[in-house]
Structures are given as structure tokens and as C-alpha cells.
Symmetry: D2
């Protein structure tokens, strides 16, 4: 009898493998399901059920894929928008028994209307549940966002409040198992820690501590969250059931000579190496998106229909990047280029570079007509920024680029220089020839004690 | 920030790797420490501290070994009997900080006098500890045994009661992380489940539910526990610090022709294959001890000074067996024999067999002067057994064998037939020529509805 | 530029991964193709071609499966019987270039009419081939069998002679890479060694040393080889292309209570544990076929249409057995039983045993009306056997069992006792209640200096 | 019975595991010996002997380390300079038997005076050896260098000629197993291919084809080879026996704030990331040496006594780099810095960059007082170089740097830009502030059809 947590970095996603008596249930599986099969094999378990705590909008659910593989039933809460095609709808009180454990559904709408939580009872020690899978309803240190139904924002915030009170009442002695950890786009205040109890959250989680429904609603409706455009793709795919992810993709590596040609035919070249490598030398007109940034920004900058060519140090890095893309539905990746820019150049092909500049240099350049473009989130920018800087959130760069003149000179910045490099690369690939990256960005600026704007 | 549980089957031992901000603490490491190094490497952590919740009596502590490898300090509670040579003594309130976590010692004597528990605080959410490492003080469904100080059994049971109340008071909202799970020799009532909260234990654990000190003491002092003789070796080694376990042992495989010779020179031949294989054919005068039984019974049947030859299907099985022996201090294993009894016989060497008999056959044999020897624990035997059976606990067989005549005929039994085979093999190796194993044992007997003795 | 050998034990099959300049060719892939994909990935190669040296009759070719996975062309020699559906026919002189290597086809009929060998040239050092893939034409220490065209046995033996002369002429300085090693059903005289050169074979291989065509033919047509009935299935499947092997099979473990029921519905229960375990205790009416024996004897004792239930120590052993079955086309394996005969018996289920007897006991039993059944190959039996023993080759037992009376008492024997156990189990499962296994068999008998019959 | 090749990239070193009948011999093991233990374990072999074909000068021998671990004898040829402390001296005709194989020593001085080759005989097919381990005497496509005894260069070249004739005579039908493949500092003309036969070498290897002793000597003494200074360290260590390599090193990661301090205390900071990353942003005053370049250039640029801090993307990269250093005797590596230059800069620390320039830019810069420094080998420079370029071989840069003025401006170049970056970084770390790297170097220059100097 054990619960194993499966972390998916990038998405900060947590899924769970619950086993007892050679039967197992998987909660909120991700698209690349090998890991659940491996755990099942290692522990000689049959996966009999798969439960989705809600319809995910930030990643592809692996439930229909795993279901087909191991012939298990998928359970999903009551969905207002229509049927989840691959799932059985379950309501309050529905029970699943595996070995000596009983899993019981409680309905907890708010984050989404179909959100459920799952109580875990040990049949031999059944005075109250020992655990609760809380999906995106309750996190360690935060609660779910409630901005997915803009017309009824107060209503759903109120529903979430009610759901949290239900959890307090039914599962006060339980360990919580949420669907996300720190770094998720599904909430900003999450603890880095991944383990907690309902009781500890009552004492420590600011939103769990609010005991006035109206106060809770007011706080929730003033929160700011971004919704990347790919969320709507995820919602659609997670109703129908996305296809399986083929682990052996990209049989074809391409030659440097083909790259420019492919780009002109509409392929998007994406360099997934660390930003330092990109700055040092890169394929002309390639975009920059380091592996860790893929799940957060690919859905903003690119479309699920784009045909991608991955540029990486080697095939393993390319495959690993492709996996990150696949987790959020990017499947058009058949080609990669295993780069070594010295060899590229030695064959006579062109290369580009972008200068990294430090705070002192930035200060100097600003006197010389360079624009300072800050691409952080508005919630990062507003509290503190450099005078004269312009703000475009990195996720909005594709939409707002037309407001920038290709004849102007741009220094990009963010919190450290990583998102700034992604932005600078995007601009360079779109024909902006004068771009530099402020490496160190706001952090470096502050450590020099250069002046900043702090509204309050 | 994560806590990873490392299970060691056989011993049912749980150790923990606690990490935050690239620093880590290991709680109660086992002797084969590779797994902690691997986790450290995978997560890019430096192990800065190692904590022992108490002086282990059932296994070799890996603390001094890991300490030397990674240059980390070992912390241990105040020990009444003298100094743990490799450790720093820590008292109530001592704190260790790693990254954003604070670990704090509370003294919880009872199971042993040096028992401590460790509270885990998240510095950003510090209203009460979120977890507690409970060592052998509190398990899921049970509490620590208190029979290690026979002269002051009431006193230490009372200490344990007080310690549990301290846990309730200080860590009511915490997840518990005990040092053992179900199957340990350190407690009988443990849940198969390995996750719980203090609050859930208060509601479900029978001993945590007792609110009268005297009632608790009375219940504890009437419990029955066996103490294998190797416990005293463990206590000694865990004061001094046991040597590291060399993972590459047994460079020498031996030939079948050497086995009898080695046996006569004092080597003990131990066959670790499944009991069915042993029954089917085995090397004459070899003992039987399947891998899963090693940590539970090697310390009863053999001495740490014995020189062992492992008989296994292949080298991997032999190594895995040697690891189990090493975890409880058996280090004299340099040789193994990779058996295939058909090949052994084809070379002209002798082989032995033991008959497995079923309930019907047993019933018949009992009419024909065969003795039925039940080797279960007394706590299993007393509630239900077969009329006319004699009881010798398997752990006591070496001591009590002289009471059995080699001229008599014995059928051994237990709950299923596994311990019965270990016992039968032991007898056969000691020259008892008429032994059979009752496969299915009490279970098979009952399913036939044959009569049993049930005292109450 | 490397050649990696992939050994498949059981079948004693050798396949090859040949790589140069990030391109690769696979020679004679087996059905479970993961290993080729892994090597490709590790070395960042694209597999561009797959070559079959001939139509395999002893195993399922993985060529069509791998071909579909990596989109590579399959090449096959000219086939007299019709088209290999998934392959392109290549003739003498056909070349494939990968990186700096050239592979060149030479036609070498004999073993089969479509047999080809592949010369390997390094384009930078191209004075003669450096290697040759010899398929089943030339082995280390032996040459291919030529009994597949019984009506034209002299003709094909002659063809093989000519093919070997061609190899001597064209590839005298080459390393040889054959399709089988020692233990294969495709030849008896193979060296245990897997590396050789054409020149070394000329000096050491008895058949390569024959320089008279007629002498060679005479020797080949007097060889004795068995042809298991599944060979015809393999030939059919290797014309059409067998389906892929699903690595995640057997999601369903069955309970002991279901086994007898399933058996009565036509399932065949196959116990793949070591023979000692089977002898010690087994499920009534189950057959015995240890993992190592599967590829050699499953095709004799069972049919590709049989629905199998694997009985094993655990799921891993069951899966590994299923893989061996799949390599020769047995795909109807959805269920396994993870046995522990003590637990089986403890639940009240029945178990069977078979006695292992030694030479002395056999001698005694023979005086008491027991029949001694020797199941070795005729080529093993004829040179030496025990007086009074009856001979039925294990592969023929299913066909010839009707000649044995179930009322008689049988001791089975072979070279060691392994095949004898398979035979005894088969008899017991068919209702022969009096069977014993002579453990040690002819080897044990001889070591006692008991009398044997040696025709010469 | 098998021979497994173990490749060590970087060093282009080949070692071998030879097994028969559960005994094994390892030929020329490298320092990190885990791989031999793993192969032994997987194949259930005891390693009984270790053979060194000669005293290695380019890497640390693992023979004494492995010997101690598995208690095996080390064999070494007759050494003129004194005793190899950990080895038994073996002479012409010495035999080792394992299982069914016989290994036989033949003395083949030339490359070194103690060089031996090992013939491999299969006892069942013993007409001539089937394989020969040729050490550094004979490679695929080349023969050993003979410049280690400068005062007797003709003599030792003659010895090598004689040794090669001995190989032709004794092992004409053999597969060859040399100690190095393409890319080794022990020979320039080696084939990329790693498999060959003596016969094929006779036909294809230019030096094996020479049949006049004097002609052979003349050709050998005119060859040019570099001898890195660490060779003498290797020779010393490989007489005494180097200590084991501890696989778990570097428990301590350092903070960016400590780096400059450590550097001033004498630590050498070595950045092992790809050169593109180094160019993009790096820690000021760190050297650049990508992992693939370590074994070739660390011995030139640094001393075995230097205390190193590795700068890498993460701990795994740092460990992998440390392993490469350890293979050639650099053991003073206890610290690493896991870099992310954006975070470094965000904390207010400084960073440096180096510009990569293309052919057109170089052409322009040369008009503007920049010096073009070509760091290729003299054998690469002489046949083709750019007019006005200065030549300093990268390996000699430390020695010759004083000839360069820190006030001058340098563009470094090589064949592609990799060694050029190593050189530029070295200069920058030594205080040369104006350095740029010609990315693409001679290759890029030629593809532009810019003029070059070709002496002939």
C-alpha cells in the first residue's frame, strides 16, 4: 500500500500512483505514460482505474492513452460543457476499492466546474480519510485560480470557497496530494514544498485561513493570471482524448544546409540549448527556447500547427525537448539538427550572435537611443522596474511586435536574462537587427544601486 | 524541497532523504548507502547532516559510513549507555537548517532511552511543523516496543506514553515518517500503509487513542516480543560504527566438489533459493533460507562469526542474498555456488530432497508415529493450532534441537510452509533423516475443516 | 564506424548493428527490436537499411517491424518460393553505402535458396572486404544445415559447397559475422566462440577444410537434424511479415482458484520456473518448460494457437518467458500466475510433486517394473545409453505418447535431468500418475560406473 | 567465450574483456574500472588475470586498481627501465588459460621496449590463433609511434619492423584488437573503423605493406609527433601504480561569490561547457576546455598539481569532466560550480564574453592591426594556412605566451573554432583583453575562397 508522486518539471505537474493489493489507481496521468507502466511493472500491479481531478487546461491528459494501454476505466467529475469522451462521469460519494484502500469522490467545483477531490481511506483504519487528492482545488500554500469563467468570476470563486470548507470538514486529518507544485501556471503562491496536511494548510495557507466567503471572493477576483492561447487547444484535446505520444520520434536528423530552406518552407527553427550557447553563436533566424522554458512559453510563441525543427547539442537533448513540447500538444516535430556551431561555420555556413551586456553597459546604451524592453509578467513589472523601460510580457510579444519598429535598437531584460534572451532571439528572427540582452537584468541593475521605479 | 522515502524490504525499514536548497539530511540510513549517494547526485544535493532517531538494534546503521563518504555530521540523541563514537549528541530543541527547512529535535524516550523525533518546519510556512520523523516511537497503526529494558519495563512504557503525548501536543498537524513499516520485528500491529498524519493516528492507532498513562503501561508490558541474539551485536556495532559494506564481494565461485570439504572445515552452506527449489533438490547438508527470510531469521539460526557459502540460482541472486546478510552484520561471505541441481547430479555429486506433504497426507502420517512440529511464533500458535503438535519457535530451533531425537520422524509446519521448510532443512542438515514439510500448514488444514485447538 | 553484435540466448541468434557516419544497417533483426532502437539512439544513428541474410525458419524476423518503425528499406536475397512481402529483392553485387562503409551482396544459396552473404568494405581501406556477414551459410566451426529441401538434398549441399568456395575466394582476409552461435538448432558443430576469420575457418572448420565437392555433399546428406513443426509457421510468417511484439503484455495476473477452470477451458498452463522448483511443488496439470528451454522445445510441445498461462515466480519472470515465446511466434499469452506454492497450499488449493531419484534408486526401481524413458536426441542416444531404456526424443513426445500406457510407471532421463523433467511433467499433466525424474541421468549413471550400451 | 571491446572516447582507448568458462582476462584496463566489474558481474565471470600490452604514457592504467579489487595477477612485458611494481614480468611464450582459451605472449618491442602482443587460441580449434591483442604495436590503418627514445630512434623503429613481421608470421589468420582507435595521440593514420584482421592490414595498412626494413625505418623517423608534458607523469605513475579513482568526488559545490577568491588562492577555474556557451558568457578569468578536449589538452595547459574548480552546466557535467581529468591523472578536483550565467549576473556578479567573428569580419579586422594566431598542429598548419597568421600550437601556448604582448589584439583560429576558443580563453584569463575567435576558421576561410598559403 503506497502512494508514489510523479513530478513533471516544467509543468510543475504532480500525478500519483496509488497501489494496494496488486491493484492500482493513477491520478491525473501525464501524456508520456511510460512511468506509470514502469511503476506498475516494478510493483506487480494492475492499473484498474484512472482518475482525472478536472479537465486540465495546461497540459495533455494521459488518461485516455493509459486507459487504452492497460484497459482501465477513466473517471471524471460532472462536466458542465459536455461529455469527456473517454471517461465515465462520477459524482459525490462514488467509491473505488483497490486492495485495502477505498477512494471516494467529493465534488469540489471552483477552479473548474468539474473539479473533484478524492478521499483515501485505509479500510483497516477507517476513522476519517488519511489522504486527499486535491487536484487544482487546494495546493500547498495556495488555492486554485478561478479566472476561467470570466462572466461568472464571483460565482466560481464562491464555489471554490465552499469546496475548501468541505475539505476542511471532511479531511481535516489528511495528507494533501495536489496536482501542481511551485512554478505552475495554475497558481502563484505555491510553496516549493510538496508535502502538507489539510490541518497545516488551515494554519499556514493564507487563502485557507479566510473564514469569510465574501472576503475570499473579493481576494480571488482581484488576482491577475495570464491565459496562454494553447489553453483552448488543451481543453479541446482533453475532451476528445489526445493521441498517444510516440517515444521514438525524429528518426531524421537534418543537415545544416537544409535548415534555411526548411525555414523558408514554413518550418520554425527552435534552438533549445542553454541561452549562453545561443548568445555565443546560433543558426541565423532560429528562435531560442531553452528546454526548461518550453512548457511555459511555447504555447504563447508558437502554434500547435507549426512544424518545428529542434536545434540541440545532440539527439538526446532534442528528444528531451520534443517530449516537453509533446506534453502540451506540439506533435509536428520530425526533424532535429545536432549543432556544433564551430563545425557549422567551418563548413562555410553563416552564424549569428547576440551580445550580452551588463548594467553599466546598459546605462550607457540608454543614452544612445537604445530601447529597454522588459518582458516580465505585469505582476513582476509593476512593483519594480527601470525608468524609461517599455513593458511587453514575453507571452504577448508575438501579438505586440508590430508596435516595435525594426529600425529601432532594443535591449531586452527580465529578472535574470533568460526570458530576455528568448525575446531578443524572437526579435532577431523577425528581422530586428539591433538587439542586445541585458544579462542579469533587474537583479544586476539593483545590485549596482542604480535607480528604479517602485510605485509604492 | 522534498522528502524521499527509502524502503528496505526484509527489514521493513524506512529511511528518508530530506532536501532543500541543494542541501540534504538523511534520516536513519541503512548500511548499503549507495542509494543516498544516488539521490544526492540526481538532485545535485550535498548531504550535510545524518540523523539517527535512536540506536538501532535490528540492523546496521549506515550513518558512520555515509558520514565518512560525504563528510557530514551524524546527530544522535542523548544515550544513557555511553557515547555513540561517530555521532554528536543532540538534545531537545537542537536545530538543523537546510535551505528553507528547519529540522528540530524533540526527545522521545521509551522505545530506547536515546530515542528522538525530528520536527520539520518550512520556514516560509512556519505555523507548526509540517512533518515529523518518529523513528521507532510512533508507527502507522502501532507504537514502539518497550521490552529492551526488562528491569524497568513499566518505567520505559511510561516514558513512551509521555513521548507520544508530546508528539500530539507539538505536531498535531504533521505528516509522520516512521522508521519501520509492516513486517518489522519492531512492532506487530503496523499498517501495511506507509503514510499517515499524527491526527489520523490519534483517531485510528489503538495505542495513540489511550488517554490513561497507567492503562497504556499495562498494555505495553503484557505484549510479547522476541529478541534475536544478533540484537546485542547490532547494539555494539551501532555504538562503535560498523565498517562499510563492499558492494563487490564474492569474487570467488566455488565448484560443487569443494562444498562438502568446506562444510567439514566449518563453512555453513546456505541455500537462498525459493523453498520449492530446495524441496525439489538441494546440496546435502545445506541449510535453507530464502532471501526474504534472511533479515528475520539469519540472526537466530547463525552467528555473525560463521563463514557462509551462499547457494543460489546464479551470482546475482547470491549477491542479493549477501546484501541482506550484510544489512544485519554478516560479513563473512566470500564464496557462492551457482547451482543447477541437474548438472550437479550429472557430474556424479549427491543431492538431497525433502517431501512436501498435504493436509490429508499429514493426517495419515500422524497415525504413523510422525511428530508434528509447529515453528510459528507463540503469538500465532496459542490462538490456534493442531492437536498433538509440538511448538518450537523457528528462532529457538538451534537452542532447542537437543530436545528432539534424531531417530524420530518430523513433519514441520508453520502458517504456509515457508518457515516449515527452513526448519525441516535445518533438521536435515543436523542429521535428522526423516523430515517432511507440511506445505500449506495451518491454512491448508483449516481449509479441509480438520479439527484445531482454539483455547478461547 | 562499428559493428555491434546482439546475442539472443535460447535461440543462439546473432544479429548485427553496423554504423558509419550516423547511418546504420541492421542485419537479421529479431522480433523484439527495442535493442536496435536503443543502439541507434545511443550512437545518434539513423537506421537506413535492414538486411535479411535468408528467410529464417527458427525465429520471427524483426525486419518488417523495425522497417516500419524507422522507415528503412528491407533487403532480401532472391527467393525461389515467392516474394517476401516486406522486402526488396537484391542480387549479386548490390551495394549499400553508409558513411564510409560499403556493404555488398553475394549470393550464397545452400542452407536456403535465398541465402546471401554481405561483404563489408571500408572505403578508405578498400583492398578486399574487412568483414562478411555469413548468415546461416558459414558459422564458427560449422556450416549451415542443408536438409530443408529433402527432394534435392544433394543439389543444395552442392550449392552450399560452391557458396563456401565463393566466400574463400572473395573474403579470405575477412572477419566472419554469422547468424548463429553454439546451441542453435541450425547446426551442431558450432564453436562456443563467436569471433573468427574466414582464414581461421579454412584452417579449423572441418567442413571448410573439405576441398572435394562430392565428399562435402556426402557428408552433408548423412547429417541428422530435427525439424520442429513450428518451422513451417516461421516460414509463412517470415514471408508475410509477423506483427510487432507488444512489450507490455499480460496486464492480467490470475488467481490460483481460476487456474483449473482456465485449464478446462483449453488454456495450457506452463510453469517456467527452474526444474527444481517444479519438482518440489507445482500446480496440478501444469507443464514444465524452464525459460532457457522455451525456444528449443515450445515449438515441439505446443501449437502457436494454444492459449497459454505462464506460471512463474513473479511478473518479471513471466514477462521474460513471454518474450521468449514471442520470439518464435507464440502470442496468445495474456495471463500469468505469480506462484508461491506455500501460499497456494495455505489457501487450500492442491499441489503436485515429482520425485527426483538418483542412479542407485533408478537401478533399484528398474527391478520393480519401472520403465526408463530416455528423451535425448537420437544423436545423443545412439552412441551411449542404458540397457533397457526406451527412446523417445522429447520433441516427439506429444506425437508418440499414445504408445505409452498411463498404467505404467516411468522414470524419465536425458543428459542431466532437465529435459527429463520437462518430459515427466508432460506425462503427469496428461494423466500418467507414476513418473519420477532421474536427476543426473546418463552423467550420474556413468559416474557410478554402471553398465551402458555403446554400439561401437 | 567472448571478447568485449570497451571504448574510452577522448583517449580513443580500447580495452578488452576476454571470457571463457566463467574466467576472464582484462587487457589494458583504464583507471575507472567499474565497467570491467559490471561485465564480470553480468556474465558471472571471475577476472583472474590482467594484461598490460605495454607501459602506457597517455593514460593512467587501471591494472593495479582492478588487480586489488578482484585479486587478479597483472602481467607485463619485460621492462628495460625497471620493474612495474604491481606486475609480474612475462616473456615470449608465456601462456594463460581461461576456460577453453589460451592466451600466449609474444614480445613485440618498438613502440616501447616492453611492448608485447597476446595471441588468442581456441583450444578446440587450435590451428593458429584466432585473435591478437596488438597494444600500440599495430593499429587499424597505422602502426605505433617510435619517438619515445630519441637517442635510438632508428633502433626502435627497426625493432617495430621486426615485431610487425613476427605478427605477420604468427597471426596471419587473426582478428586484431589494438589499444587505440582513431583520434589517439598514439598515431595519426588510424582508421575510424575498429575491426580488422592481420591479413586485411597487410593489404591495406601502408606501413604493414612496407617490406624493406630500411624503408620502414626512414619513414618512421621522419614522422612528427607531439609529446605532452604529462606523459612523463603517466610513465612514473604507471610504474608505481596509480591510486584508485573515487567515483564519488566533489561533494562540494561552490558559490559564485567564492570563485574569484579561490582563483586568487591558486585554484584554476576550468569551464567545460560547449564553446558556444563560453563565448556567450562566462566567469571572468576562467579557462575553457570542453569535455571532449580534456584528455587531449589538459596535460598541455595544466599541471597534475593544479587544484581545479570545474565550471559546468550541472553536477553531472562536472562529474563527467572530472572523470576525464582523472583518466590522465588530474585528481585535485573537489569543487565545482554549477553555472547559469543569467543567475550569476542577476546576483550582481561580473561576467565576460568573447566575440565570435566570421571570415569576412576577420578579413576586415586584419586590416586594423589584429593578429591572427593559428593554434593547430604543425602538421595541419604547414600544408595550408592564412597569410600573415602566426603559428603557436595550442599545446605550446602556455610556454610561448610570453612572446605575445598583452597590449596587442588577437584573433585565434584553428580548423573549426574549438581549439581557437580554448586558446582565446586562455589568453583572456591571462590578461589579454582584446581577443576574438574566428568561428569556422580555416574551413570558413576556404569556403569563401579567400587566399591561402599552400607551400607545395
Amino acid at each position: 500500500m503506497f502512494i508514489q508522486t510523479i513530478k513533471t518539471s516544467g509543468l510543475a505537474h504532480l500525478s500519483y500512483f496509488v497501489a494496494s493489493g496488486n491493484k492500482a489507481v493513477v491520478i491525473d496521468p501525464r501524456r508520456d505514460i511510460d512511468i506509470y507502466l514502469d511503476i506498475a511493472k516494478e510493483n506487480e500491479c494492475d492499473i484498474t482505474h484512472i482518475i482525472e481531478t478536472h479537465r486540465n487546461e495546461d497540459l495533455i491528459s494521459g488518461a485516455p492513452i493509459l486507459s487504452e494501454f492497460v484497459n482501465a476505466e477513466v473517471l471524471h467529475g460532472p462536466n458542465a460543457d459536455g461529455e469527456v469522451l473517454y471517461a465515465t462521469t462520477v459524482k459525490e460519494g462514488h467509491q473505488v476499492r483497490i486492495g485495502n484502500l477505498t477512494l471516494e469522490v467529493i465534488e469540489t467545483p471552483g477552479h473548474t466546474k468539474d473539479s473533484i477531490c478524492i478521499l483515501v481511506f485505509d479500510n483497516d483504519f477507517d476513522q476519517g480519510p488519511v489522504g486527499i487528492f486535491t487536484g487544482d482545488t487546494l495546493f500547498v500554500g495556495d488555492v486554485g485560480r478561478t479566472d476561467f469563467y470570466p462572466e461568472e468570476s464571483e460565482h466560481v470563486a464562491g464555489l471554490l470557497y465552499d469546496s475548501l470548507q468541505k475539505i476542511k470538514a471532511k479531511a481535516a486529518a489528511s495528507i494533501i496530494y495536489p496536482a501542481h507544485g511551485a512554478g505552475s501556471v495554475c497558481g502563484d503562491g505555491m510553496a516549493e514544498r510538496e508535502f502538507s496536511t489539510v490541518q497545516h494548510e488551515i494554519m499556514n495557507n493564507p487563502l485557507m485561513g479566510i473564514n469569510e466567503r465574501e472576503e475570499f471572493i473579493q481576494q480571488k477576483i482581484t488576482e491577475h493570471h495570464y491565459q496562454p492561447p494553447y489553453f483552448s487547444d488543451m481543453e479541446r484535446l482533453n475532451m476528445q482524448g489526445a493521441p498517444a505520444y510516440a517515444t521514438f520520434q525524429m528518426t531524421s536528423s537534418v543537415q545544416v544546409e537544409q535548415l534555411e530552406n526548411m525555414r523558408q518552407q514554413g518550418y520554425v527553427l527552435i534552438d533549445v540549448r542553454p541561452i549562453e550557447s545561443y548568445l555565443g553563436a546560433h543558426i541565423p533566424n532560429s528562435c531560442c527556447l531553452p528546454i526548461d522554458m518550453i512548457t511555459a512559453y511555447a504555447g504563447w510563441l508558437f502554434s500547435l500547427n507549426d512544424k518545428l525543427v529542434i536545434i540541440a547539442d545532440d539527439q538526446n537533448m532534442a528528444r528531451y525537448a520534443a517530449l516537453h513540447f509533446a506534453r502540451i500538444g506540439f506533435d509536428n516535430i520530425e526533424h532535429y539538427f545536432s549543432t556544433n556551431m564551430a563545425m557549422v561555420a567551418a563548413k562555410g555556413s553563416c552564424f549569428s550572435t547576440i551580445d550580452a551586456v551588463n548594467a553599466e553597459q546598459v546605462k550607457q546604451l540608454l543614452k544612445d537611443d537604445w530601447h529597454l524592453l522588459d518582458v516580465r509578467k505585469i505582476t513582476e513589472y509593476e512593483p519594480i522596474h527601470i525608468e524609461g523601460s517599455e513593458h511587453i510580457f514575453l507571452g504577448h510579444l508575438a501579438d505586440k511586435i508590430s508596435a516595435l519598429s525594426p529600425d529601432d535598437k532594443f535591449i531586452t531584460m527580465c529578472a535574470s536574462g533568460i526570458r530576455a534572451t528568448v525575446a531578443a532571439a524572437y526579435l532577431q528572427a523577425k528581422g530586428y537587427n539591433n538587439v542586445k540582452v541585458f544579462l542579469g537584468s533587474i537583479g544586476a541593475w539593483q545590485s549596482k544601486n542604480y535607480p528604479v521605479i517602485k510605485p509604492n
